[in-house]
C-alpha cells in the first residue's frame, strides 16, 4: 500500500559508514554502492558526528569499537540530534554490548560478518519504517495517549512525545491491535521485517518506548507485558 516497487532504483539513499578499520570500511562502501546506495565513510565517531551535522545521511552504520569517542557514545550523540536510523555493525556479539547499543538508541544490531544482501535488506526495512502505515485512521486514542499516524505524532496527556521511527512503528503495530497480545516474533516480523530475529531488539525498544510514554516505566500501565506471550497496548 505504501511502497513504490521501483523505489530502489528511483531513490538513492545516503548511508554514512562509521568504521575505523580501513579495509572493512572500503569493502562495505564498495558493496553498498553496488547495491545502489550513495555511501560516505569516516573512520572515527568525531568525524561521523561532524559529517552527519554538515550533511545528514538517511541511515548511519556504526561500529562499536572506535578510537576516541566509542560507538555507544556516538549513538547517543546522534540520537540527541535527530531520529536518523542507526544500525550497529559490530564484531561483538555479547548480550551486554547488544543491549547497551540498543539502549543508547540504535534501531538494529548486526553481528559481523554480515552478508551484504542481509545488510541491504535491513536498510530497506528501516527506510520503510519511516513511512506512515495507518493512512485510513487519523487518530488513535488510548486513554490520555494519542497517536496520530499520518502526522507521525504521539501525545501523552496533550504533550507531544518525540519517538524514533522504530519506536513509532512499534507503537503503531501495537495500536493497530488494541488489547491484543503481539508476540516478540510477530513484532520482529512486522517492525523489523525479520523472519527469525533477536528478541532483545523488541525488549529494549519496548523499554525505550515505556520511558517516553509511561509515567513510571517500571510499573507500566499503557504498554504492558503479558508473561510468556508478548506485549499489548492496554485500552
Amino acid at each position: 500500500m505504501t511502497t513504490d516497487p521501483t523505489w530502489h532504483d528511483a531513490w538513492v539513499a545516503g548511508v554514512l559508514v562509521i568504521e575505523d578499520d580501513d579495509r572493512i570500511r572500503l569493502s562495505l562502501m564498495l558493496a553498498l554502492e553496488d547495491e545502489g546506495y550513495s555511501v560516505r565513510g569516516v573512520s572515527s565517531a568525531e568525524d561521523g558526528l561532524l559529517a552527519q551535522r554538515a550533511e545528514p545521511a538517511d541511515t548511519v552504520l556504526v561500529d562499536l569499537m572506535l578510537p576516541g569517542v566509542d560507538g555507544f557514545e556516538c549513538i547517543r550523540q546522534l540520537r540527541r540530534d535527530d531520529d536518523v536510523p542507526i544500525v550497529v555493525v559490530s564484531a561483538r556479539d555479547d548480550t551486554h554490548d547488544i543491549v547497551a547499543a540498543l539502549e543508547a538508541g540504535a534501531d538494529d544490531y548486526l553481528v559481523k560478518p554480515v552478508a551484504v544482501k542481509e545488510l541491504s535488506a535491513r536498510l530497506r526495512a528501516l527506510r520503510r519504517r519511516g513511512r506512515a502505515v495507518l493512512s485510513a485512521v487519523s487518530t488513535l486514542v488510548f486513554g490520555d495517549l494519542e497517536i496520530l499516524p499520518e502526522a507521525g505524532e504521539v501525545r501523552v496527556a496533550g504533550a507531544p512525545v518525540a519517538l524514533t521511527r522504530t519506536e513509532f512503528r512499534l507503537l503503531c503495530e501495537l495500536a493497530e491491535h488494541p488489547g491484543l497480545v503481539l508476540t516478540r516474533q510477530q513484532l520482529l516480523q512486522r517492525v523489523w521485517e525479520y523472519d527469525v530475529g533477536d528478541e532483545r531488539l523488541v525488549d529494549v525498544h519496548i523499554g525505550r518506548l515505556r520511558q517516553k510514554i509511561e509515567d513510571d516505566s517500571r510499573a507500566p500501565r499503557r504498554l504492558v507485558t503479558v508473561r510468556g506471550m508478548g506485549y499489548k497496548l492496554a485500552r
Binding site: 578499520d21 579495509r23 569493502s27 564484531a91 560478518p113 554480515v114 527469525v196 510468556g228
Partner: protein, 451 residues
C-alpha cells in the same frame, strides 16, 4: 556394598559407645544390687534358721515329742518353709506339699553326716535358699526360703536398667546426629557455594571468619574459585578476542566477495572461476567460524522461554527454501514449549541441513511432546546411518560418507555436534534411528519443555 555415609557412621559410633557404656554400668549395678540383696537375705534366713533350730531342739528334748505341733508353733512368715527329718521320717506342715522335694540330695547328705550348709535352688521357677542344719544325729532341720518378691524386684530392676541402657544409647545416637549436623553445617555452606559455582555463579565465596576450624578448607576453596574465575574470565576474553579477530577480516571478505559476485559477468572466464571459488569458500569459512564460536559457548545453560515450536519449525523450514508443509501439524499436546529459542532454531536448521546434504532432503519434521519432554524428529529417505557410524556421527568434524567426494558447498562438520550440544544444554540428547521404510530419523529429546 556401598559405604555408609559419614553421618550414619558417626551416629552409629555414638550409639554403640553409649550402649556399651550404659549396658556395662547397668550390668554392674544389677550385679552389685543383686549380690548385696541376696547376701542380706541369706544372713537373715541363716539367723531365722538358727533361731528355729534352737526352738526345735528345745521342744524335741522330751520323749516322743509331736514334731508337727512344734513346727506349727514356728513363725515362718509367708516365704519360709520348715522341714524336719527325724529318724528317717520327714515332717512338714500339710500346707507345704512340694517343699519336701526342694531339698537337694547333696545338701541332705551333708546334713545327715552332721554338717550344715546352704544352697541356692530353683523351685517351680522361683529361686529359693535351702538351709540345712543337723540338730542331732537323727534329726535334721531344713528351711526353704522362697525369694519370690526378691526375684520380682530383681526382674523389675533388670527391666528398668535395660530400658535405661537403651535410652542412653538412643540419646547417644541423638547426640551424634546433633553433633554431625553441627559439624557438617559449615560443609553444607561449602556444598551450597560449590553448587552455585556449578550453576555458573563464580562470585560465590566462603566467609573465612565464619568457622576458624575450617580456615584451611575455606582458604583453599576460595583460592580454587578465584583460580576458576580467572581461568573462566581468561577463556571468555580469549573467545571474545578470537571472535572479534576472526569476524573483522571476514566482514571485509564477505563485502568484497559480494562485489566480486555482482561483477562476475565482467570478468574473464578464468578470473570468474577463481572469484567463484573465493566467494564460495568465504561463505563456508564464515559458517565454520559461526559454528565454532557457537560451539565454544554452547556449554552455557539454556535460556528457556515459551516458544511455539511448530511456527518456529515452519519458519526455519522456509528459511532453508523447503516446503513448510513438511512440518507435521500440531497434535493436541503442548502448543508452547519452554526452550531456548535460538538453540531449538539451530537444532532444526542443522538437522534439515544434514538431511539435505546426506539424506536426499527431509521428508518429514515432527514436533511432539511426550510427558513433558519435547521431541524433535527429522526424517529423510537417504541411505540411512550405518550402526558403526552412529557413535561418531555427533563428533566434531565428522562428515557423512556420502560426502566423501567433498563436492562443492560441503558442510562444516560441526552441525550435528552442535545439535548434540544444544540438546545437552537442555538436559536432553540426540539419537539417530532407522526410519520405517528406509532412511534416517534423527530424534532430539528436550526434557522439561512443559513446566
Amino acid at each position: 556394598m556401598r559405604r555408609a555415609g559419614l553421618r550414619t557412621r558417626v551416629i552409629a559410633g555414638f550409639a554403640a559407645g553409649a550402649l556399651a557404656l550404659s549396658a556395662s554400668m547397668a550390668f554392674i549395678s544389677y550385679e552389685l544390687t543383686r549380690s548385696s540383696l541376696l547376701a542380706g537375705r541369706e544372713r537373715a534366713t541363716m539367723r531365722a534358721t538358727a533361731y528355729d533350730a534352737r526352738i526345735i531342739t528345745a521342744s524335741l528334748a522330751g520323749d516322743r515329742p509331736d514334731v508337727l505341733a512344734v513346727l506349727k508353733t514356728l513363725d515362718t512368715g509367708g516365704n519360709r518353709r520348715t522341714l524336719v527329718r527325724r529318724d528317717g521320717v520327714l515332717y512338714t506342715r500339710n500346707t507345704d506339699p512340694g517343699a519336701a522335694d526342694a531339698v537337694p540330695a547333696a545338701l541332705r547328705r551333708l546334713v545327715e553326716q552332721g554338717g550344715q550348709g546352704a544352697q541356692w535352688v530353683r523351685v517351680d521357677g522361683v529361686p529359693a535358699l535351702v538351709i540345712g542344719v543337723s540338730l542331732s544325729p537323727t534329726t535334721a532341720l531344713y528351711e526353704i526360703d522362697y525369694l519370690r518378691e526378691l526375684d520380682q524386684t530383681l526382674r523389675t530392676l533388670a527391666w528398668v536398667l535395660g530400658l535405661v541402657a537403651a535410652a542412653v544409647a538412643a540419646a547417644g545416637a541423638g547426640l551424634g546426629w546433633y553433633a554431625t549436623r553441627y559439624v557438617l553445617r559449615p560443609l553444607r555452606s561449602v556444598a551450597d557455594a560449590a553448587q552455585g559455582i556449578t550453576d555458573g555463579d563464580l562470585s560465590a565465596r566462603l566467609d573465612p571468619a565464619a568457622e576458624p576450624d575450617l580456615a584451611r578448607l575455606t582458604a583453599s576453596f576460595n583460592g580454587m574459585v578465584d583460580q576458576l574465575a580467572r581461568r573462566h574470565e581468561r577463556d571468555r576474553r580469549f573467545a571474545a578476542d578470537v571472535s572479534h579477530e576472526l569476524r573483522s577480516p571476514l566482514q571485509t571478505l564477505a563485502a568484497s566477495a559480494s562485489v566480486l559476485h555482482r561483477r562476475r559477468e565482467h570478468l574473464d572466464e578464468r578470473t570468474a572461476l577463481a572469484a567463484g571459488l573465493v566467494v564460495e569458500e568465504i561463505e563456508r569459512f564464515q559458517s565454520l567460524v559461526d559454528d565454532l564460536l557457537e560451539l565454544a559457548r554452547s556449554d552455557q545453560p539454556a535460556r528457556r522461554a515459551p516458544v511455539d515450536p511448530h511456527a518456529l519449525a515452519r519458519r526455519v523450514t522456509e528459511g532453508q527454501s523447503l516446503d513448510p508443509g513438511l512440518v507435521e501439524p500440531a497434535g493436541d499436546d503442548a502448543s508452547r514449549w519452554l526452550v531456548d529459542r535460538r538453540r531449538l532454531e539451530q537444532i532444526l536448521a542443522n538437522l534439515l541441513d544434514n538431511a539435505i546434504r546426506h539424506g536426499g532432503g527431509p521428508v518429514a519434521v515432527r514436533l511432539t511432546c511426550v510427558a513433558g519432554t519435547g521431541r524433535v524428529e527429522v526424517d529423510d529417505e537417504g541411505p540411512g546411518v550405518r550402526p558403526a557410524d552412529r557413535a561418531v556421527i555427533f563428533d566434531r568434524f565428522v562428515r557423512g560418507r556420502s560426502a566423501g567426494a567433498r563436492g562443492g558447498g560441503d558442510g562444516t562438520g560441526l552441525g550435528l555436534s552442535l545439535v548434540a550440544q544444544h540438546a545437552k544444554a537442555h538436559g536432553g540428547r540426540v539419537v539417530v534411528l532407522d526410519r520405517p521404510g528406509g532412511g534416517a530419523r534423527f530424534r532430539v529429546e528436550l526434557p522439561g519443555v512443559v513446566p
